[in-house]
Amino acid sequence: GQQVMQIPQYQHVQEGEDFTTYCNSSTTLSNIQWYKQRPGGHPVFLIQLVKSGEVKKQKRLTFQFGEAKKNSSLHITATQTTDVGTYFCAGPGLLFGNEKLTFGTGTRLTIIP
């Protein structure tokens, strides 16, 4: 079945440092989504990437979708304490249709003030 892996599993950074999480799928994705889950909270949609090689920015967050549409990355510049949480990528496989998402294992970000 489709697998979506994320690395690293955990990341501890000093406030102000940059952070990157990587997402790799075993199958080609029609699109990829990113979600953020605050501690004790629920996943909240951040962004969706659709095109091969697409890059989108949201303030300090930069999202990339690989040329082969099998990998993606999220980069946060100058982290702040509000960035704490677990970041998940998720993608529907070409075989399963858009109604089912496979979530990555997540990267848990903690910030050292």
Binding site: G1, Q6, Q9, N31, Q33, Y35, G41, H42, P43, V44, F45, Q48, F88, A90, P92, N98, E99, K100, L101, T102, F103, G104, T105, G106
Partner: protein
């Protein structure tokens, strides 16, 4: 507009007991999902529904049953709870026309002793 509402928020069961988790959405979404979240394993799909009266198995369906008698409600049942079902359960829904962005409920924390 409440979005996706899950009840109960917390529950403790004894092994062998049964219970039903309720998910209600007021966004007229066609698709609804039940996930479980365990430490280090991301979100795993239990069952999902693409419309009223239809359900389908996800990645980890064993030990669970679901029903979608009304479009706005999606019920998850545990007939005979086991300690392995201790987890946080999330319900999500999407609109077929909204680029498949999943909206999550606040979650149900279930402990099976």
């Amino acid at each position: 507009n409440a979005g996706v509402t899950q009840t109960p928020k917390f529950r403790v069961l004894k092994t062998g007991q049964s219970m039903t988790l309720l998910c209600a959405q007021d966004m007229n979404h066609e698709y609804m999902y039940w996930y479980r979240q365990d430490p280090g394993m991301g979100l795993r799909l239990i069952h999902y529904s693409v419309g009223e009266g239809t359900t389908a198995k996800g990645e980890v369906p064993d030990g669970y049953n679901v029903s979608r008698l009304k479009k706005q409600n999606f019920l998850l049942g545990l007939e005979s709870a086991a300690p392995s079902q201790t987890s946080v359960y999330f319900c999500a829904s999407i609109s077929a026309s909204a680029k498949n962005i999943q909206y999550f409920g606040a979650g149900t924390r279930l402990s099976v002793l």
